[in-house]
């Protein structure tokens, strides 16, 4: 029996052990249950897959903690990106021309909607939800690519001019497409991404429960089943299995009689 050795998550193994104890099946590894069905291994793998998919879904799709992301961008100096964009002249500090453009977003005499620390926080929050188009497994906040830095400037300028975070996100979605969001919108086909891991896990658990119920019935059958199978294959040996042939019967009776 190979369930213990499939490398499933420890939680799945513990779950299995608990259920087995509960229904009173013999411990795994007992040679009496000789049914070579591949089912249990497959189901265990399914549980492991569902559990790890669920765990992965939670980890990858969960909102990246702004604190962690900010720490990353504060500590890491602006590196040369592989996209080649960092080989341009500007790269270390925000381009002065860009800062000028930022001021141009507002109409003359108009007050910025958000300023100071609040603006920084809001910019970081929006940037953490957008995907860097160059380093696509990083958020715009985390990425050190030039384009990400410039996108942050754009976010900042638009927030300052009074746009809401949703409007800023909509601006990027209009231009880059929905993949610019790190977390896909939970609608339509995207719902599969959110629901499938949980459904797989549930399906695996249900499958295991059904199979275990079948195993619980198996031990009573297996003895008779083995005998029946072997009996069916060779009628002549039926006696030899359930009983002994006459010669051995006599010897057994002698031995028992001697022992008293």
């Amino acid at each position: 029996m190979s369930i213990g050795g499939t490398g499933g998550t420890s939680s799945a193994a513990a779950l299995l052990a608990g259920v087995l104890r509960f229904i009173g099946t013999p411990p795994i590894g007992t040679p009496s249950v000789a049914t070579p069905s591949p089912g249990p291994t497959v189901v265990a793998l399914l549980i492991a897959a569902g559990a790890s998919a669920g765990a992965a879904g939670i980890v990858c799709l969960g909102a990246p903690a702004p604190a962690r992301a900010q720490e990353a961008s504060a500590v890491r100096p602006q590196q040369r990106g592989t996209a080649g964009g960092d080989r341009g002249v500007r790269g270390r500090v925000p381009d002065p021309a860009a800062v000028e453009l930022e001021a141009l977003e507002l109409a003359p005499g108009e007050e910025p909607a958000v300023t100071g620390q609040e603006l920084d926080d809001l910019t970081a929050r929006v940037a953490a939800r957008l995907r860097c188009p160059v380093c696509r497994n990083q958020s715009v906040l985390e990425s050190s690519a030039s384009l990400a830095q410039e996108m942050q400037q754009v976010i900042r300028a638009r927030l300052r001019a009074g746009e809401s975070p949703a409007e800023v996100e909509a601006y990027f979605i209009d231009r880059y497409g929905e993949w610019i969001l790190l977390k896909p919108k939970a609608e339509g086909v995207n719902l599969l991404v959110y629901l499938l891991p949980a459904l797989l896990l549930l399906g695996g658990l249900v499958g295991v429960a059904l199979l275990l119920r079948r195993w619980a019935a198996a031990p009573e059958e297996s003895g008779a089943g083995d005998a029946g199978r072997r009996g069916g294959a060779d009628p002549g040996r039926a006696e030899a299995d359930g009983g002994l042939d006459p010669e051995e019967e006599r010897r057994l009776a002698e031995v028992l009689g001697e022992r008293g």
């Binding site: 080649g84 860009a98 410039e150 231009r175 880059y176 929905e178």
Partner: protein
């Protein structure tokens, strides 16, 4: 017994088929969200020191090429852009470059060395690049006469793409009989 054998097999084959289909898709080239929308306007300084606004090119087919001097594929596609500039009259088709994350001096040197008479504009802060949903170079946008984005090509372009796209875009606005209708692919390439 039969279902137990065929069902997992069918599921496995189905799943493998899905994975195989995934292998045929190129994750690096993402579809543009701008197709069919009006092209974002801009007014930017040119390499020569003047300025260019997109509105000045209204009514013309525009080949908008985002490039940089440090970009090797941009060098590879440069002859194609030169041919586009040469083969189509300026009154109908204009090639416009947008310099992406580059120093003006390097960009000017690139154009001097490789030739070409079309205007390239500088894009400080990549505001225009972001406006167009650009994430790398080279990327080329084909704008129809009415100013909408007809096609976006990611990576170096070749003459086949340029000629079929521009021909079909010219054909859309042209008066009847001006352009040959039987040029291969002319009808189908419009809109990407």
């Amino acid at each position: 017994m039969k279902a137990r054998f065929w069902l997992p097999l069918a599921l496995a084959v189905g799943f493998l088929g899905l994975l195989g289909f995934g292998l045929t898709r190129d994750a690096r080239t993402l579809p543009s969200a701008l197709i069919g929308d009006p092209a974002p306007s801009f007014r930017l300084a040119t390499l020569e020191g003047g300025s260019l606004a997109l509105e000045e090119l209204a009514g013309k087919v525009v080949v908008l090429n985002f490039w940089a001097s440090w970009c090797i594929p941009c060098r590879q596609e440069h002859p194609v852009l030169r041919r586009a500039e040469r083969d189509y009259p300026d009154s109908d088709v204009r090639v416009v470059g947008v310099v992406y994350q580059d120093a003006p001096r390097s960009a000017r040197r690139f154009m001097e060395r490789l030739g070409g008479d079309w205007t390239s504009v500088l894009d400080p802060g990549s505001r225009t690049a972001i406006d167009y949903g650009v994430y790398g170079v080279p990327e080329t946008f084909f704008l129809a006469r009415d100013g909408t984005v007809a096609k976006k090509h990611i990576g170096p372009i070749d003459w086949e793409i340029v000629s079929t796209t521009v021909d079909s875009l010219l054909g859309e606005g042209a008066r009847t009989g001006s352009f040959p209708a039987d040029r291969a692919g002319a009808r189908s390439a419009g809109g990407g």
